[in-house]
Symmetry: C2
Subunit: 619 residues, 2 copies
């Protein structure tokens, strides 16, 4: 039976009732409720403002919306080429073990939907509490639409907790009929991973001025290299004598058909100290790329898959053009082409919306977290090692205006070992507010995120940025630095009004680190060369990483005074004494929010919901 | 309305129905269920094998039973002198803040029962999930009986999780009418605390032999001192030429009327190396007490309030009498007399059941945990500092028989700073089984507890005992030792067959502790005297306790090699090298059990249950 758009819900046929009669009365009651729900909730495209392709071919397309009052996400999944069902779900970092899954499966005759979980070995189990709730299913010319909802938090220990920040979505396509959920072998199916920010902030779009103009910074019809990962660099420039404007919005321009390949894009402005920059159009890691392009690092716009248009708050805009600002721009596009398509042309990029009618405030970007220095290091083989960077009360006291600043967006940044990033605002020694947190942070998914609400920062406040790293696959220490195998811990916060403070970061006092090296040398029986002429990375590399040396490094970072970088630009500090500063003392931590537990929906004991879709495979 | 025994359940009167009509349909439906439940569950005394008085006057008496299949405790509370209601509940350590409470209250006309919780300020709130479920209430000549049940785990974050080990029960008596739950000021009511082991093991009583005899070791009609705390010592002796017997059971003998005053009792056997011990009958802390009584430390029997008779497993008995065993016994009774009653006479004690027909195995007692030495220390101001004592594979390899031993009971022991104690069995580096755990351990409630199941320990196994201490009220370090302000971390395990291994305990290697003192001295800017002629306690007392010195001490205890005491008696080690032994490496920890969440009972939204008791105050 194929239902049409005007009658979108499959009504239970006689066959369905037969199947249902096998279940308890409660299940029957639930099915009545389900049918009512199906009839009242025809999926409409406009209901789902957010959309991403899940797989590189775009066979699975996910749309969703978020209801904060109900604390629920509604998902609409389009299956363009439906085989014998699919798995869709979430897990900590995209793995298929210990995952929380919605599963649609067919035995060739009948189809079923259920909430499942996979154990540490990847074996699927029906969930005792059915929290992915099916709301509807319908066939359309383009494929099968499945509509379902999931509460942010279910209080079922087997379920994923949907939080702010990155969510690792996983999918799998069933290419053969299966007779039960337990019969699905998830290691043998076509499967993949997509990262998104599910809980998009619910922000009213500010009114746009009538004199608004647009400018597209796009790739010049390039051919996407036939390799999994490419960072493409393209240099362009503003018109001569382009006066100061405010960028008030930007949005992605993605070449039709390449939606699943364009992973993220950024527009950088080059440094004003150089009069000109060479033109370039090619891979960013090419030997042909002029070195000077490394001086194009001031972010004007950043977009990543799943993100929508970015609107500045109505009071502020990002200044570009005018004196003291470079004309040169660098577009960087990350193409993710795991199926190694050949010959794909692309002209994707970012469309800037700007105005000459300057808004009240220039927006600024400030860097919080750790200084890029090897004194901050992570031992090898750590599952979750924590480093913290401070923006101290002394620095904000000196650099922020009395009326404070308002942070409205944030971009978290680490290199490859980063797993979590969080910035917390503290005042008078008490943590007050999370500025931005990502408990499932991935270095492969960095986007500028609007905050759910403005964060006001006043003189004397402290901003504490904590990064968690995983170095289980490394055999020597990872030190701080610019290299891809070195680490960073940074939160670029976007705020207004712009101040002179560009950088408010810290690192451990080098003298105390030296005491640590001495201590390790004396305490351990091994004789380790800690000669003073040896570099800090070399000293870290020569440490025998027993539990004592690991623990004492943690203790050192939690105790030793810090060197503060409270800077006007990366080289110029505010006047004052910034060495051997005391660590901020925090007397009151923010409480972990207690998850709201909705009353458990669905049948108990849990049973799959039969769907009347006819045989799943069309042909 | 006062119901008689033959009609124990209050049937809803018209008035009750009137009140109920104010609530939602769901509440009404629930009440119907409740009435059905009430009629089906008349409380019978034999249903509640465990009983304790809650208050020192014995006005409140708690009986309970435990259903392991249902994971539920049924409570029967007798209120002998009912005022305007009461609070009964549980909290981490007996505090009235953050407590989980069942409340019966009356406004002078109507009575209500509800599940409540108190916040960090002690304010009461109705719980959103009603997990104390009222099953019945009836008046009897002796007072009002309330019958209710509570699942071990409710998965409500406001609720207390009922676990093995000590539970701190709290009670409060409402002496004035209150118009709502929220109006109760818990700081102004008559209230108190009682510690019990709620989850008693479900053990079949072994058959007792026909030749069994009894011997009462009881106080000789003493007068309980009119002070809050007394430890009474009474010396007695076995008959001359008393041959070897097996104690196979013992039970408390508590003088009628003193049930609320007798807190715990122990019978110790004196050391065999002394031919005689002086008679004594007086407080244990008296200056008159002969010093030699300190050599009476071998536990024969231990009872604490709430405990029942203690049965040895049918295969084993505790040997006493015969050659090589002292005739002298010391009875110690802890009287807890907070209301400072005067002139109360007491002849409480313990009744031993013993047989001359020796059972297959002599039972033994082995001491696990930490050596009593100052090298194991706790910094001051710690909320939860952890020390661990090891019984290593090398020691069990040497000392245990190939067929292993079976542990059937355990008595945990610390001094005043102890808050948690747990012993875990590990084999091949993997934790296998919890031997005994008390997450709410109190040094004021030490009893020999039967294990729910025998724990088999084989040569090569490791027994790891971990104690958690709170020193927030202390200003200097607490070192290990015998003094009441020094600390211990001990688990006396009762097992069979008896072996030569009496003591399997550890302490950090003193050389590594010396390196720690040196390190502290060098790392910190302060100049601390760590001169070698100074004692270990003095060195600990002079440490400036910053976070680094605290953390590094923890790291030291988690890393440094240990000195093992693998002893036949407290002075004689098994032959072998026991110094600078490596710490056991544990590669796999036991998982915290995921609590089983019953479907939430009771009305939603939560509402108090009206009770038809008539005006609560009798007169």
């Amino acid at each position: 039976m194929q239902t049409s758009r005007s009658k979108p819900c499959p009504c239970p046929s006689f066959k369905l009732r037969e199947v249902a009669s096998m279940y308890f009365t409660m299940v029957a009651v639930f099915l009545v409720i389900l049918v009512v729900a199906l009839q009242g909730s025809a999926p409409r495209g406009s209901d789902f403002p957010y959309k991403v392709p899940l797989d590189p071919q775009g066979l699975l397309e996910l749309s969703w919306n978020v209801s904060y009052p109900q604390q629920v996400v509604h998902f609409q999944l389009l299956l363009r080429d439906l085989r014998f069902g699919l798995l869709f779900g979430m897990s900590d970092r995209g793995e298929f073990e210990n995952a929380d899954l919605a599963v649609l499966w067919s035995d060739g005759h009948n189809s079923y939907f259920g909430d499942a979980w996979s154990d540490a070995k990847g074996q699927l189990h029906m969930d005792s509490q059915q929290d992915y709730q099916l709301l509807g299913a319908r066939r359309a010319p383009e494929g099968l639409y499945l509509l379902f909802r999931r509460a942010f938090s279910t209080c079922d220990p087997k379920d994923y907790l949907i939080e702010d920040g990155t969510v690792h979505l996983i999918y799998g396509i069933l290419e053969k009929p299966v007779h039960s959920l337990q019969a699905i072998n998830i290691s043998a199916i076509h499967r993949g991973l997509q990262r998104v920010q599910l809980l998009k902030p619910n922000i009213t779009v500010p009114e746009l001025p009538s004199d608004m103009k647009t400018m597209e910074i796009t790739a010049p019809n390039i051919v996407i290299p036939s390799q999994e990962t490419t960072y493409w660099c393209y240099m362009t420039e503003l018109p001569a004598d382009f006066p100061k404007h405010h960028i008030i919005m930007y949005e992605p321009v993605v070449t039709a058909g390449n939606e699943a390949l364009v992973h993220h894009m950024e527009v950088f402005q080059c440094a004003a100290e150089f009069d000109s920059f060479p033109h370039y159009n090619g891979p960013c890691d090419s030997k042909m790329k002029p070195d000077r392009l490394n001086y194009c690092r001031h972010v004007l716009a950043a977009w990543a898959m799943g993100a929508q248009a970015f609107y500045y708050p109505k009071e502020a805009g990002l200044a570009f053009g005018g004196p003291g600002s470079s004309r040169y721009l660098r577009l960087e596009i990350h193409y993710h082409n795991p199926l190694v398509f050949e010959g794909r042309h692309d002209s994707s990029g970012i469309r800037l919306y700007y105005t000459a009618t300057l808004r009240r405030y220039d927006a600024g970007i400030m860097e919080l977290g750790l200084v890029y220095t090897p004194v901050m290091a992570i031992p090898p083989g750590e599952e979750a090692f924590i480093l913290t960077g401070y923006c101290t009360d002394k620095c904000t006291q000196l650099a922020l205006p009395a009326a404070g600043i308002r942070i409205f967006a944030s971009q978290l940044h680490t290199h490859l070992a980063g797993r979590k990033v969080v910035t917390v605002l503290a005042r008078d020694g008490r943590e007050r507010q999370v500025v931005n947190a990502d408990g499932h942070y991935s270095p492969h998914f960095q986007e500028i995120r609007m905050l759910k609400e403005l964060v006001a920062v006043f003189p004397g406040d402290e901003l504490i940025t904590t990064c968690t790293y995983n170095t289980e696959d490394r055999s020597r220490a990872t030190v701080g630095g610019f290299g891809i195998l070195e680490e960073m811990c940074v939160n670029y916060v976007h705020y207004y009004p712009q101040t002179q403070l560009e950088l408010c970061k810290s690192a451990v006092d080098p003298g105390y680190l030296h005491r640590y090296f001495n201590l390790v040398n004396r305490f351990n029986d091994e004789e380790v060369c800690m000669c003073p002429q040896v570099s800090v990375p070399q000293q870290f590399f020569s440490i025998p990483w027993n539990s004592f040396n690991r623990d004492v490094l943690k203790s050192l970072y939690g105790f030793a005074p810090i060197s503060m970088h409270c800077n006007k630009s990366s080289a110029v500090r505010f006047p004052g004494e910034w060495e051997k500063q005391p660590l901020p003392t925090i007397t009151e931590r923010l409480q972990e929010p207690i998850p709201h537990c909705p009353s458990a929906p669905g049948p108990r004991p849990a049973a799959p919901v039969p769907l009347n879709l006819g045989p799943l495979r069309k042909d």
